[in-house]
Symmetry: C2
Subunit: 470 residues, 2 copies
């Protein structure tokens, strides 16, 4: 830095802010930090987190929004929170349209007849009962499809072959998943009668990945399904040979009735400022193919077990802590939206929030989205997580899908980022089952969440509310 070209006012302001940070009174007492460290270490002695996921996946299993599994999960959630001794347990209604999966089969008719493994995308319409047979037209990705001439896919089934990239932070998902969300309407615009996409996943298992899609208004609704990765490879190999490839797909999916499920909430009531509260949560619903162990049974186990450790303390923390099991995240963050709407007059009471919804891998980074003055407190919190292999990242946290609506209303949020290297191997497939969870990693997650929840509830000062509003 060349000082002579640097405005003096800026330097002064910079030095003042540095000094303010350095001199800031610690936000947590020594006793708070001692208790938080003890809670962290206790997390490794407990198997409560794993027991909770085992219980949910065994006694409920799949719990797609609007199904009997959803109702069973709500009942299970209430019973579990009561059994664990939460001070208050209640539910709040969440209403949404439903979708039902039916038969889903596909096969190559010519030139090389053989079956394909597919799964319908959430909210896809069905085909005629006798199925839909048409020639395949292949596109590299959604962009290539969008840029194709009108009628490019006239009377054909579009196949989008783009592959998702593997990454610890799951950053390959965003670019790839657009094909799932918007592919059907883009294909219909080009005259297609159906769409098959390569599954949005990173595995090579012969299982297709489901997930929600949306039809653009005013565009014809065509049936949409995902192919397993090996089947997408197979189709590519057939197409490469240059002969027309015709496929038959049969999808029995259809929309159902409107349904009311519930957000399930358990509260540890604060001893000094009970009306102010910290949210930790996860979503209770899952897709129907697996048992929702990673997505998001793990999150339910981690956050509930973290709260359970705090429940065991001789004294309630100063503020309240709410464990929220959100309804229907999978089909549009419906539970998160319902909570934000129901509590919009209540936003200033939410001291901060974090959702666990990225499987069961170890947390490697903590990000915050707080007012600048609160950053020293965040750093103190992060320091307690260092022995867990967690470092502080930045102040641009997202907080988790069900917190997006609350974040939009101005609450501060944290992201406790999990290692997601293999998350998209299992995500939204039948392979999302209990055996994919490592109990020790789960403990590490619980240890991080208990530090976050306890210290936020004890904090002198706050993380800011409203600054985050857009």
């Amino acid at each position: 830095m060349k000082l002579r070209y640097f405005p003096l006012a800026m330097v002064t302001s910079y030095l003042l802010s540095m000094s303010a940070l350095a001199e800031q009174t610690p936000s947590f007492t020594k006793e708070d930090l001692r208790v938080a460290a003890e809670l962290r270490d206790e997390a490794f002695k407990s198997s409560k987190d794993y027991e909770i996921v085992e219980s949910l996946t065994t006694e409920v299993g799949p719990r797609m929004a609007g199904t009997p599994g959803d109702a069973a999960a709500v009942k299970w959630g209430v019973a579990k929170l009561e059994e664990l001794g939460f001070d208050k347990v209640w539910t709040e209604p969440v209403t949404f349209p439903t979708w039902k999966r039916g038969v889903e089969t596909a096969e190559v008719l010519s030139p090389y007849p053989q079956p394909l493994v597919i799964t319908a995308l959430g909210f896809s319409v069905g085909t005629a009962e006798e199925g839909l047979s048409a020639e395949i037209i292949q596109f590299d990705d959604l962009k290539a499809l969008s840029e194709a001439p009108a009628n490019a896919a006239e009377g054909k089934i579009v196949f989008i072959k783009n592959r998702m990239e593997r990454a610890r932070d799951g950053s390959g998902y965003g670019p790839a998943v657009a094909a799932r969300g918007q592919g059907a309407s883009e294909a219909a615009k080009k005259g297609a009668v159906g769409i098959l996409i390569r599954s949005i996943g990173t595995d090579t298992d012969r299982m297709a990945h489901t997930g929600v899609m949306r039809y653009e208004e005013g565009i014809e609704k065509i049936p949409a399904a995902a192919l397993s990765a090996p089947d997408a490879d197979l189709l590519e190999n057939m197409i490469r040979r240059g002969k027309p490839v015709t496929v038959k797909m049969t999808i029995g999916a259809k929309n159902g009735e409107e349904y009311t499920s519930h957000n399930v909430i358990g509260e540890i009531t604060g001893s000094e400022k009970p009306e102010e509260y910290v949210i930790i949560g996860a979503h209770l619903d899952s897709w129907d193919l697996g048992t929702g162990a990673l997505d998001d049974g793990a999150g339910i186990g981690i956050t509930t077990a973290a709260a359970e450790l705090i429940l065991r303390l001789p004294k309630r923390p100063k503020r309240s802590i709410r464990v929220i099991m959100f309804a229907n995240e999978e089909q549009g963050l419906v539970g998160g939206k319902a909570y934000a709407e129901a509590h919009q007059d209540d936003i200033k009471n939410i001291i901060t929030a974090a959702e666990s919804d990225f499987g069961a891998g170890k947390i490697w980074r903590i990000d915050s989205k707080v007012k600048e003055e609160a950053l020293p407190a965040v750093k103190q919190m992060a320091k307690l997580m260092e022995p867990l292999g967690i470092t502080y990242g930045n102040n641009q946290a997202g907080g988790g899908p069900d917190l997006i609506p609350l974040r939009g209303k101005g609450i501060s949020v944290f992201s406790l980022r999990q290692d997601g290297m293999d998350y998209f191997d299992y995500h939204h497939t039948p392979n999302d089952t209990l055996d994919k969870i490592d109990p020790e990693s789960l403990n590490q997650n619980t240890a991080a969440y208990v530090i976050f929840a306890y210290l936020s509830a004890q904090m002198d000062g706050d993380f800011g509310t409203g600054f985050n509003q857009k």
Copy 2:
């Protein structure tokens, strides 16, 4: 060794035999060894092996014995061998009873309703159309079931929970697979109305492993299916809770008509002793769930590509080499038996044989089953494989499943043992697809097979015939 207690005659005999081995004339000329080494290195420059598996899995796919896929595979095999320029290509009939898979679903009815992933075992009878509902009774393994009192499983569905152990040489398969082969009849003897076994596999994928089973004569035939590993875990977790667990299984499988398929044979005709021949082979059929890439498309690719390298030589080897694509190995070594029967007057012409039927992992050991005098030749052959990471094992080779009947008639055999650490992750599941094959490992296999086939065809002397007879 204490010589004074050692009979002199034995010592002399021992020293003589040592000296005989040491002085033995090499079985292969320097030129033979040079050509074999060159063929070995050429194997890594060719992608023919991979192209063959890609072709089989893409253009034919599943080829369960007796299905249209079987017929397509025979047609494919003949065309492929002709295209590659074999001197003679022909088929030999193989007749067998067939079995058809139908619907296969299962679900827990109570106390925790949720679906289960199952697959019918080959030759299982079906259930009534409306399915079979009964309480589950769990056994640790086949032995525990066999030792249970009569009527122990009266009116129940037996669940055998034993797990297969992972091992490089696949040695966990034998002990585990008995539950698949004999479980149904053992369960029926105890009064059971159906049987579910934990899949005979080493993976944690939510895919069940099929495979053949047999009913004991005079015992009631009850429906038999395998649960995927996560579903077996789930059932165990439910049963552990102590309440009766009832399951409904629906199996639509049934026996079909008798069918005639074909062993497909391609010959490189020897230049000096055309009537004597070396067999390299694999089985052409597969199970229906996957595309049979590992089981046994890989073997087809390896052995056919090895022969193709020899076909490219300026001169035919002294003896003939036959690539045999055996029919219907999966349902009882039927093609191997048919070949042995059809060629029983011909056995003395078979100089030796090896079958590739253990996936696509690298070969790490070569075993022989030859007369003792031929061991120096085997060692010379093994020496050429050393740069491939292959060492000589012992003289107790099995030779591969389709060679069992020929071995019983006295032919010498070799086992080129592949690394099978992950073979049983995919074996007999929908996951047996092309992406599981590493082209470089395939090349290493082809390199070993080409050394074996070429040197055996060139060999001065033989490996013995008849000594191996039981």
